[in-house]
Amino acid sequence: MRLALATASFVILIVHGIIFYDQFFHEWESYQTSYYQQALSLAKTDAERAAVEGRSPKIEQIIVTSFGETRVDRCSTCHIGIDDPRFKDSGHPLRSHPFSEELGDKLVDGKWVRRHKFNDFGCTVCHDGQGRGLGGKYAHGQDHFWPDPLLGSKLIDWRADYKPKLVGKEYMQANCTLCHTEDGFGSTPLVAQGRRLFFGKNCYGCHKIDGLSNGALGPELSEVGKKFKIDYIWESIVDPRANSAASFMPKFNLTDDEVKALTIFLKSRRGMNFSETSLDRYKATLAKGEPGQALIHGGVLTSPPETGTPTAGVAYGERLVYDKSCMACHKLGKFDGGIAPDLSFEGLMRDEDWMMGHFRSPRSKISDSIMPAFGFTDNEYQAMTTYLASLKTPPLVTNPAEIYNSLCSRCHGEKGDGHGQIAVYLDPYPRDLTKVGFMNSKSLERFVTSIRNGVHGTSMPAWGKVLRDDQIHAVLDHIQTTFVKEPRRPIRERKLPEINPIASSSESVNRGEGLFLQRCTGCHGRKADGKGPNSLDMLPRPRNLRNRDFLNSVTDRRLFESLLYGVQGTAMPSWIDYGLTEKEIGDLVNYLRSFDKGHKQ
């Protein structure tokens, strides 16, 4: 018992001693003592000596209130020789801060004069790090949970393959931009390069940055520099799925230098800016109109064509298609982004009007397309359209299985189940060709038409010019034997009106709307956009009935058939079983048809 007590009391003594020692003898004290000694020995005049004498080690701090929230920078507690030119060749931490023209320092009469005085600016506004910290690890922000580690420093637990690339004082350019926001600021060439890349590589199409772009597909990047460290930004650019498994951001083919410039540009996006107040910014936005619009229509986004290259025609269009990274998503020839449809036979599938309209606003042609409207100039759109329209070489495949695998399986899947490589990015989802109920309840003629003419308002293009009719039939036979695995059954003849017998009137539309709200919204949604509360549980998803191109392409007869007898192989029930009469179906059809009329008015 006494032995235990004695041991415990000694342990307590030792712990107390360690804490006392730790709190009383600091690393920074030894740096300061060493500085004072060296400064005394370097002092040539009495005045210099007097300035140092009588000073004892203490915490030095600069309190800066001008840049955002108050900064307390105690960096000069260790880096005490920071503004003492005699220490310019000493080792760290006593070395004095270098002078450079890039920082705005000036050489006057052989002596450098600082542009950014430490008393006014502190340290962390440029360097980042934790200003209050007094020990190396914490002060340099190398604690895992500190959001702003010293920019360009190298002691962080970052991924080993990126670490060497994240070192270098050029990363501090990101912080210059917090005040020097002008586009052409000379001392931040990498920010400017990153900004050009942000537009050149079409990042703006998906990502929003306040005042620069309006993309809505990807995460907003207005404050990305405040939220993430540079290693995370770098990783997210080169390997989008590393941090978000659900990301479908394409991998862009960027060199390390380009990634570095983009990283620095993104790090400079902190959602704040010290050279103007939020009111200034608000007023500037008002004067400019919609931020992204102004940029797009001002033509800032597009660099002028290099001299000596054509500005129109197929060659220019081809260069644009490659320069603008279209193949980051689309497939064209041997390039395949794995996200968007194949463009290899675009000239055979779509006409130029369709392409121009689709470029200007993809959703005007395919209602639920995820393709961003990039806002290039009409001249560029025209050139790209000309190039794509020139792609008229049909594929060299003859046997039906090969045709299916090379042309259809990218969307409909190798197994025909609709889960092709790019299927998740398509809306409506590609048809599941293994559903016997669906495949055997529709006529062969309808399938042939869908393949030959495409399905309007969806990503299914018209294959009529790519495949001959006999090839289409052969592919359908292949699908029937390989995926449906049942012989085609004769279609049951049903009595259906060719044209809606109920005349369209406002009363009929109102009755139709009432019925729709009662019966259809669970799946098709109150807006009839196919996004009702149950929609996520079913595949194929409920049809987006606001898809004008699609709805205009289907006949009244088909709508009556789907509504009265349901769509086999999908969740759409036969409404005749639920007591809807043909007259009520007529009202519903009138209601659906009224969407387009409303649009035209």
Partner: protein, 163 residues
């Protein structure tokens, strides 16, 4: 084992020698009272904070050339008045010694707007309720060539720094 020890202990103690029990008692006391002592000393030191969030006491005000001869410039942020006469520079506090208002340089010296204290050019009281003269602070030349004022060090009235 313990039983045996307990039985033996009184016998050894009577002989007045350094018994195991006594040694352990001593060691425990040293441990406990030693750590108590360290705590007391440490607490006494730690009562005063090492750094506070006010503006630092020592600050540089710029190159001597920015203060030509004859300057009397009050720096309101730092509450100090920089005076240069020829090649001599000094820094006088502008905090009134009465109730801490900021005194303003006037033709005759300094005047406090709150209760009418008057000071002469050197900060000595010439009138009003102020109990004592304004403080003079240490001025020195920092290695980067700028003048530095240390409000932590008061110097005797009339101590100038020669530029």
């Amino acid at each position: 084992m313990t039983m045996k020890k307990r039985n033996e202990a009184p016998a050894e103690q009577t002989e007045g020698q350094l018994t195991r029990r006594r040694l352990l008692t001593w060691l425990s006391s040293v441990g406990i009272f030693g750590s108590a002592l360290i705590s007391l000393v440490a607490n006494a030191f730690f009562i005063k904070p090492r750094a506070t969030y006010g503006q630092p006491n020592r600050f540089s005000i710029g190159k001597p050339e920015e203060f030509p001869a004859g300057t009397r410039q009050a720096l309101d942020g730092q509450r100090v008045c920089v005076i240069r006469e020829g090649e001599r520079v000094c820094a006088i506090s502008t905090t009134c010694t009465h109730l801490g208002c900021i005194v303003a340089p006037s033709e005759t010296g300094f005047a406090c707007p709150c209760h009418g204290s008057r000071f002469d050019q050197d900060g000595n009281v010439t009138g009003g309720p102020a109990p004592k003269a304004l403080a003079w602070y240490k001025v020195s030349l920092a290695p980067n060539g700028e003048l530095e004022i240390d409000k932590g060090v008061e110097v005797k009235s009339g101590t100038y720094f020669n530029v």
